[in-house]
Each structure stands twice: as structure tokens, then as C-alpha cells.
Amino acid sequence: MDTNEVRLQECFSKVFPEIGPEAIRNSSIDTIPAWDSVASVTLLMLVQEEFGVVPDMDRFEEFTSFRGLLDYIRETSPNA
């Protein structure tokens, strides 16, 4: 697990404190009932704050899972 994954996991923990680390790494919008639109926006703001990346809303489908977001961060973040 690289540092980006750990940092992203921290972001997820802030939004979904009741979900364990393992479940977070395998999570998607379908596996976490609390992952609603407010959670999505909060998550994206945390990603922006943590990695300095402004999520491109045209690629929103990629932001509906932990893995998708991690790949996006690795591809675009200057701080990744």
C-alpha cells in the first residue's frame, strides 16, 4: 500500500468513520449505503484539499469507488 492509498483512506475515514480500512479499500458507491451526494461532494473536497487536485466532473463515474479515485489521483495529482 503506497502513501497515496493511505492518504486517500484517511479521506474516506473522515467521511465514513464507521467503515474499517479493508472495507474502505474495496468500497464503492454500491457497497456503502451512506455514500450519498453529500458524501460524494465532501469526499471530492477532501481529495482536493489533500492532493491539490480539482476533480474533473466530466469523469464523475470514476469517482464512485475507492480504486477509481485512487487511479485518478495517481494520474493527475501534483502531490501524488
Partner: protein, 606 residues
């Protein structure tokens, strides 16, 4: 990013969203939040809720429960807040709330042709909001924030020029805000203070506005939430200021250059000392106590303070401690004369060494250095003092305070020269007990929240809790005023509680320390027993670090005094130990006065 916090004069660190989320979350197993805030806005409240919760946690040590309404319906949300009031209400108004065409999420036209219609709609909406605010403010304190975001580029002029249309819109809003500020319970967020902490150009997040309806950058949401919490739950204002003289109240060392050469004016390059004096005079006029602690020759100081061009009147300076001993010893004597704690006092001196010495002796005191060599920093100091002493209203009691403290010196001299009974008999004292529940009167809550010594239990109320308490049909409130030959003390005691099935229960009872040694507390209980027709009173008693005067009073009726909990005092037990009291009593029930002459009233007292 950091911005200067004018109250503490320290940069306010931006709270990151991740930190705010951690703060906003209640610890596992924590009880539900005891304080609630209605956030009334027309946009998606999103992160502003998180920041309000986080700053509430910082203020109280526990998160604040935030209620929100419906998107795009600020007036409806105000109605909801009035129907189900919280402890406090934050109203955040932005341009789209006045007409959606002034927002970015509507595209209904910005042509010149619609401007008249927009203007009319804005005025109509402001009228509606004015009456709704009135309604909400009767149920809870309201913090109101005018538009913090810019108008869209709707004017026909170039960027550097305001259009008449934009100016009329802003004027309409300013007029509305000025009206709203007159509503009791409504406090306006200062646009100037907000601008010092959140730059106008860095507030709007267009992407978020379009994607989610939340219009603010995180930094702006953070600052706005912090200021709203400050407005809704203000810290108690400081009560007194102790100032140094040389190179602080005036320019120059009195002992070296003499009375005529000390200065505080432009011609002598000492205007910043004059501004400081002028500021102190304003504080004194609002009831702030001013004392002097100076290492100097007493005779010289007496002469200097008699100069007629002094901008702060010498009569407003009391006590004046002038000697060559440590400043902390002078400060201790001043605190004793005032009978207030160090946490309520600000100390100002040009010498960092002196402020450090006083600060070490009184860690709870706010000690500030006067910038004698740097007039640029004077405004920072004055703004900081304004923040520390700022209060909602100036009451009659504030104006009486300094005079009554001076009179207390003579009071004590006379008291010690004769027996207590004889002394009380010749005071010509009149005690007025008013039974009334007035949500518009700030004095009872002020007394409850700032009195430490004669205090039943140390309980504090937020304004919202107090308003809810008064609205309870079972509650009672008695406010006590006092006057004698030494002058009026004003309203100096409050007792309040709830009528219960068995007996009335007193939940708070406080009396100002200025009113000690007059047996006012005996009359207060006597009148409460009589007015409520009670044969017993229960008290929510709790000892605190500082409520020894209350404990001393109770120890006459309870032996031994329990460590904590409900105390029951029967009327019979109270009357058995009721001393001879030579006061005249007036009672006021809901505005109607009636004189009361208990059996203990002596002849000849008015």
C-alpha cells in the same frame, strides 16, 4: 492561508475541511449536543454546517446540532426556524435569495430590460424578510449576514464603474440591514470584519455553486462559520481595564520631564496617546472600570491627572495605585477594591517586562503592550480592546458602576464605625423587587451569566435557553434593585425558577458583589415566598470555586450545608432566622407597583 483575527490580534489559521469534519463529529458515546443552531440560508448548506459544528465544538467543547431547511427558500426557512426555534439562529443572505436572477444557477436574463423588475422583486423580498426576522428574533437570538458574494456581472458599465442599478440594489440591502440591526436580538455580522479575514475575491466557488449549490470556498465557509458562532455565543465582555501612565496614557516620563511636558497631542507627536485616552473615555462612559497602576511619585501624578486637557476625566479613574512597588501588587489592590476577578480585567502597559510580571502573577488576566514607538499598531490595540469590551447594549447599571464603587469606600468606612443594625437603620435603603418576565430586558441574563460569588450554582444560560425559560408558563423571575443614601446600585440581583407540583424550584439566584453587606438576600427570599404563596422553596444548589458568599448565607439555614444537590427551605425555618431589616420595600408585579411593609419595617424609613 491565514487572516488576522482582530479580537486576539493573532492570525486565524484556516481550518481544513478534514480537521473540521473531525471536530464536528461527536466522540463515540457522547451525549446528544445540548446546543442547537438553525442555519437559515437559500443555498445548499453543505460544508457550512460542518464548519458551524466544528467552531461550536471549539467554543463549547462539544459539537453544536445544526438544523437546516429547504434549498432556494430562505423566507420559508425563516418561518421554519420561528416555528421550531433552536438555541440560536444564523441567517446567511446571498443575492439569489432576493431574486434568483442574481445567482449563477438561473439563466432568466440579465438584460437592461429586466433590471427594474429585479429591483422591485429585491425590495419586495427584503420587506418580507424584515417581518420574518422580527418573528424569529422573538424566539431566539439571530446572527444576520448580508450578501458576502459579489453581484453577478449584470451592470451595463465597465468593471471599474458601479452602475446606478447595482448601487440601488446595494442601498436597498444596506437599508434593510440597518433596519434589521434595530430589531432586539438581531446582531449583524460586520462586513468590514469579515473582509479583514476573508478576501472578497476569494469567497466564491463557481464550480461548487454550479455542481452542488454550495457557493463558498472552504476558506470563506470556515471564516463565516467562525464569526457566526462568535456572534451567536459571544464571550462575556471584560469589565475593567488597568492602565499604566508614562508612555502609555501619555507620552513621556513624568518624573523626568514634569507635568507640563507630558503630552498626548499631534503637535508633540503624541497623538496616539490622545487616541488611547479618548478610547478609554468612551469605555468609561459605557460602564467599564478604569484603574491606574503606575510606578511614579504620587504628588506628581495627582498634579498631572488634574490637567484640564486630559481626554479621559480623572473622576473616571479609580482606584489610582501610584508607588514604586511591583505592578502586580498594585493590580492586586485594585482588584480587591473592585472586587472582581483577574479574568474580567485587561492590563495595558508600554513595558513588556511589566506586562510579563503582571501576567505571571495573574495568568487569567489579558495583558497587552501599548505600542509607544509604533503608532501604526495603535489601531490594532484599539480594535483588540473593542473586541474584548464589546457588548450588545449599554444599560443604566453600567453607567452607575464607577460611581457606586467610589461610594462603596464611604459605605465601608461608615459600616465599620458603628454596629451593623445601627448602620443599616440609617441608610434609608429602598429595595425594589420586580416580578416580571421580559425577554427584551438583557439585564437579568447579564447578571446570571457574569456573577460568580453570590451565585446559587454557577449555571450559565445561552440567550436561547433564557428565552425558552421565560417562555415556560411555569417559570418565575424576580429582579431586585437597591438604592440608599450613597446612591442607586441599579438592578443587582435575580432569582428565577419553576413552579412545581410540590414547591417552587429555584434554578438560578445571583446577586452582584456591589450589593453585599446590605441583607438584600433576606428580603429577596422573603418576597419570593410571599409572591409565590409558597411554604417551601427548593434550590438547585451547587458549590463552586467562588460562590462562598452564597454558601455563607445558606449556612445560616442549613447545618451542615450539603455538598451538592437540592436544598429545601421551609418558610417557617426561614422566618425563624429572619433578622431585623430596616429597609423599605417596593414590589412590582408585571409593571404595577405596590409598596410592601413587612413587619420588620422600621418607622421613619421612606
Amino acid at each position: 492561508m491565514t487572516r488576522n483575527n482582530m479580537l486576539t490580534n493573532r492570525p486565524r489559521e484556516h481550518l481544513k475541511l478534514s480537521e473540521a469534519l473531525s471536530l464536528a463529529r461527536a466522540p463515540e458515546g457522547a451525549p446528544p449536543a445540548s446546543r442547537s443552531v438553525w442555519l437559515v440560508c437559500g443555498f445548499t448548506p453543505l460544508h457550512l454546517v460542518t464548519y458551524l459544528q466544528a467552531h461550536g465544538r471549539r467554543r463549547f467543547g462539544e459539537p453544536v446540532h445544526v438544523l437546516t431547511g429547504v434549498f432556494g427558500d430562505l423566507p420559508g426557512n425563516l418561518e421554519r426556524a420561528a416555528a421550531e426555534p433552536a438555541n440560536a439562529t444564523a441567517v446567511v443572505l446571498e443575492w439569489p435569495d432576493l431574486d434568483p436572477r442574481l445567482g449563477l444557477r438561473h439563466a432568466a436574463g440579465w438584460t437592461t430590460a429586466v433590471s427594474t423588475d429585479i429591483e422591485a422583486e429585491v425590495r419586495k423580498q427584503l420587506d418580507r424578510l424584515r417581518s420574518l426576522l422580527d418573528h424569529v428574533a422573538q424566539r431566539s437570538p439571530v446572527a444576520l449576514c448580508g450578501p458576502t458574494l459579489p453581484l453577478p456581472p449584470i451592470g451595463h458599465t465597465g468593471l471599474a464603474q458601479d452602475s446606478p442599478f447595482e448601487l440601488r440594489l446595494r442601498a436597498a440591502v444596506q437599508s434593510f440591514l440597518a433596519d434589521a440591526a434595530e430589531i432586539r436580538g438581531v446582531r449583524l455580522l460586520s462586513a468590514e470584519h469579515l473582509a479583514a479575514e476573508s478576501l472578497a475575491a476569494q469567497r466564491l466557488d463557481v464550480r461548487m455553486t454550479l455542481a452542488t449549490g454550495f457557493p463558498y470556498t472552504l476558506a470563506h465557509g470556515d471564516v463565516l462559520a467562525a464569526l457566526l458562532i462568535e456572534l451567536l455565543f459571544p464571550c462575556s465582555p471584560k469589565k475593567a481595564l488597568i492602565t499604566d501612565l508614562d508612555d502609555t496614557l501619555w507620552h513621556g516620563i513624568l518624573g523626568e520631564i514634569g507635568v507640563q511636558r507630558i503630552a498626548w497631542d499631534l503637535e508633540n507627536h503624541a497623538q496616539h496617546h490622545g487616541l488611547y485616552q479618548q478610547f478609554l473615555a468612551a469605555l468609561a462612559s459605557r460602564g467599564v472600570l478604569l484603574g491606574i497602576a503606575s510606578k511614579n511619585e504620587p504628588d506628581l501624578v495627582r498634579e498631572a491627572l488634574a490637567r484640564r486637557d486630559l481626554l479621559v476625566t480623572a473622576s473616571s479613574l479609580f482606584p489610582i495605585e501610584v508607588n514604586w512597588g511591583p505592578k502586580s501588587a498594585s493590580v492586586a489592590r485594585i482588584l480587591k477594591a473592585w472586587n472582581i476577578g483577574p479574568a474580567d480585567v485587561v492590563f495595558v502597559d508600554d513595558s513588556p517586562m511589566e506586562t510579563a510580571e503582571v501576567s505571571a502573577a495573574f495568568p487569567e488576566m489579558t495583558c497587552l503592550t501599548f505600542p509607544r514607538r509604533d503608532p501604526d499598531k495603535l489601531i490594532d490595540l484599539l480594535c483588540q480592546l473593542r473586541g474584548l469590551f464589546g457588548r450588545q447594549e449599554i444599560l443604566e447599571e453600567d453607567r452607575l458602576r464607577t460611581a457606586s464603587l467610589r461610594a462603596s469606600e464611604h459605605f465601608e468606612v461608615e459600616r465599620k464605625s458603628t454596629s451593623e443594625e445601627d448602620f443599616l437603620a440609617q441608610l434609608g435603603a429602598v429595595i425594589t423587587v420586580e416580578f416580571a418576565k421580559k425577554p427584551s430586558d438583557p439585564r437579568p441574563l447579564e447578571l446570571v451569566n457574569k456573577t460568580n460569588q453570590f451565585n446559587l450554582n454557577g449555571r450559565r444560560f445561552t440567550e436561547g435557553e433564557w428565552m425558552a425559560h421565560l417562555a415556560n408558563p411555569d417559570s418565575f423571575v424576580a429582579v431586585v434593585s437597591y438604592e440608599d443614601k450613597f446612591g442607586p446600585l441599579g438592578r443587582i440581583a435575580v432569582i428565577t425558577g419553576l413552579n412545581g407540583a410540590d414547591a417552587p424550584r429555584v434554578v438560578s439566584w445571583v446577586m452582584s458583589c456591589r450589593a453585599f453587606s446590605r441583607r438584600i438576600e433576606h428580603h429577596t427570599l422573603d418576597r419570593v415566598f410571599a409572591a409565590l404563596g409558597a411554604s417551601r422553596l427548593d434550590f438547585d444548589y451547587r458549590p463552586t470555586e467562588r460562590n462562598w458568599p452564597l454558601r455563607e448565607f445558606f449556612s445560616r439555614f442549613f447545618e451542615p450545608l450539603p455538598s451538592e444537590g437540592a436544598l429545601c427551605l421551609t418558610k417557617a425555618a426561614f422566618e425563624e432566622r429572619f433578622p431585623q431589616l430596616p429597609h423599605a420595600i417596593k414590589e412590582i408585579f408585571d409593571g404595577h407597583e405596590r409598596s410592601s411593609t413587612p413587619g420588620v419595617l422600621l418607622e421613619g424609613v421612606p
